[in-house]
Amino acid sequence: MDILIYGTINSMALALMALGFALVYGISRVANFAHGALYVISGFVTWGFVRALGVNYLLSIFLTMIIIGVVGALIYQFILIRVRGMAISEIIASYAIGLAILEGLRWGGFKGMTYTLPVFIEGSVDIGEIPVDFHRLVVVGIGAAVVAFLWLFTHHTRIGLALRGMAQDERAALMLGIDSDLMAVVAMALGSMLAGLAAILLLPLGNIVVEAGYNVLILAIAVCIVGGLGSWMGAVLAAFLIGFAQILTVKYLGSHYQMVVALLAIIFTLVLRPSGLFGQQKELEERV
């Protein structure tokens, strides 16, 4: 029973981390290796608003989302757009940006001291015999809401449809008058906001630490690869797969192995079926 509950919570957390990455890759084919850095930085921005400036919690969440979206858009508009299409340069450039942000934060003294965010709702509730705090339930609820919202957004709004058009066939989208650069900027901003949302939801459960950036990046990549790069439904399903696998390993093997599971999942998926569980088959692009 506890496996079921904590597995669901863990899976939802993973899905939240991964959705931003999946969105950006799915639409603009840019593997955004700065994802983890955006996650951590939005944690610190919220912390700054709430704890240092004393702004209302809800308002500061709102402001953080906007700021992080703008940061993502700027990164794309000024740096990544210039290396668009060169996969390797994209990876190196975005990885370097992420590294610069994370190590810059570390240098700036954001370590050692404990940085925490307040939880949304205090207290806990017993499900069966297992105590679950309200915040984790909020995480699951909002996570599910985000997935639903993304589905509605991409199926029933003009921008969402344009984004999907880009993801499916960029040239055809261009011919129909969709500005592909603009859409890619929008996608990057959205992806960054999702990273920010994940940070705001998940960070109250622990401390804000710089190292989380690397872990989030690895987990997001793991989920996206197992689910198939660019496939959102795949990402959600893979999040559940890896989430439960992690909880099971922690229970039966020890918490040291938690990350090993994610990494091995990546390696096995890539070796056996690079397009992931639900990726579109593009055999020639990914392997010989």
Binding site: A31, I79, R82, V83, A87, I88, S89, I91, I92, A93, Y95, A96, I97, L99, A100, E103, G104, R106, W107, I218, I221, I225, L229, G254, H256, Y257, M259, V260, L263, L264, I266, I267, L270, V271, P274, L284, E285, E286, R287, V288
Partner: protein, 337 residues
């Protein structure tokens, strides 16, 4: 209406055209044109330790050489075979741990452990990477990024090979001059060796694999076999670097899998000039001393070279060496059209 536009015209210098073929060397001047750049590099590298002001800076030169091995390997794999390997730390770690084990458990001296660690390490890395070789582009990059992390976590989790403490008491080189010149001579050897390798027939196949692997396959050649050879060369280079590093610091630990070893060689390659083989070494000679000077700032130096890296990739993706070669080999003049 003013339709006049100017553009830069580039022409090869006459002397370059004449010295392209081996038999065209007619005069001392042409001989100098060909040999001076190479001699400057070789003599410069050999003299460098002698002119360094202190032992500290001599050690920095050795570290430069360590990174140069990795950068050479990265450049070779990425720009001649088309496999982008983000996991330089994986090679360093395997080579380093092998050398440390051979030295501490069986007591082999450094001059025996280093060759063994190089060859055996190269073989082990190739074997471990073998399943990933059919992958391309982004996928191969991501997998190789994961390898050092996996190995690190496994060593941590199983608490093998000294666990988080690492293996202490590895023997050092006989004296510091041997240490210094061993790495420098090896860098030069591999530098010119790799240049030769990529111009041999097999180098032609490597480049074909990069440009169009289906065509290579259609010619009846086994792509995975050639990729495996290339990975062996690159990983042997990395393992050599790792083995030297372990004997230099007399210690082998988890920090061998650190991010530095993956990111700095890439930055050096981008800055020095991708696909020139010499460029990465040059890039290391620029980046590593800068990062040593910035040591006082702690992790800020990583920020610093990440920013250099981004700036170069976005604005000057050709790198210093390609730029230098162009200036050396070609005239430039403005023409109106």
């Amino acid at each position: 209406m003013n339709n006049e536009q100017r553009r830069k015209e580039r022409l090869d210098r006459g002397i370059k055209v004449r010295t392209d073929g081996l038999y065209a060397i007619m005069s001392l001047r042409e001989l100098c044109y060909l040999t001076v750049p190479r001699l400057v590099l070789i003599v410069g590298m050999l003299v460098l330790p002698l002119v360094m002001p202190s032992m500290y800076w001599q050690r920095v030169i050795s570290i430069v050489c360590i990174y140069a091995f990795l950068a050479l390997g990265f450049d070779f794999l990425a720009h001649f075979v088309g496999l982008v390997c983000l996991g330089g730390a994986f090679f360093i770690g395997v080579g380093g741990y092998l050398a440390a084990i051979l030295n501490t458990f069986w007591g082999f001296p450094p001059l025996v452990t280093i060759p063994i660690a190089t060859l055996l390490g190269g073989a082990i890395c190739t074997l471990l990477l073998l399943p990933c070789l059919p992958l391309r582009g982004v996928y191969f990059a991501i997998v190789t990024l994961m390898y050092p992390l996996v190995l690190m976590r496994i060593i941590e989790a199983l608490n093998i090979l000294g666990g988080t403490d690492g293996i202490m008491g590895v023997a050092s080189f006989a004296n510091r001059w041997i240490e210094q010149y061993f790495v420098i001579v090896m860098v030069l050897l591999f530098l010119f060796g790799l240049r030769r390798l990529v111009n041999l027939d097999i180098g032609l196949v490597f480049r074909a694999v990069k440009d169009n692997d289906q065509a290579v396959r259609a010619s009846g050649m086994n792509i995975t076999f050639y990729k495996a050879i290339a990975v062996f060369v690159a990983s042997a280079l990395g393992c050599l670097a790792g083995a030297c590093l372990v004997h230099m610091y007399m210690w082998s630990g988890i920090s061998l899998f650190a991010l530095d070893f993956s990111i700095l060689p890439i930055a050096a390659t981008v800055i020095g000039g991708a696909g020139t083989v010499v460029g990465p070494v040059l890039g290391c000679f620029i980046l590593v001393p800068i990062s040593e000077l910035l040591r006082a700032f702690g992790t800020l130096r990583i920020v610093f070279y990440c920013l250099i890296l981004v700036a170069f990739i976005v604005f000057r993706s050709e790198g210093i060496m390609v730029y230098g070669q162009r200036k050396y080999h070609q005239f430039e003049r403005w023409v109106t059209i």
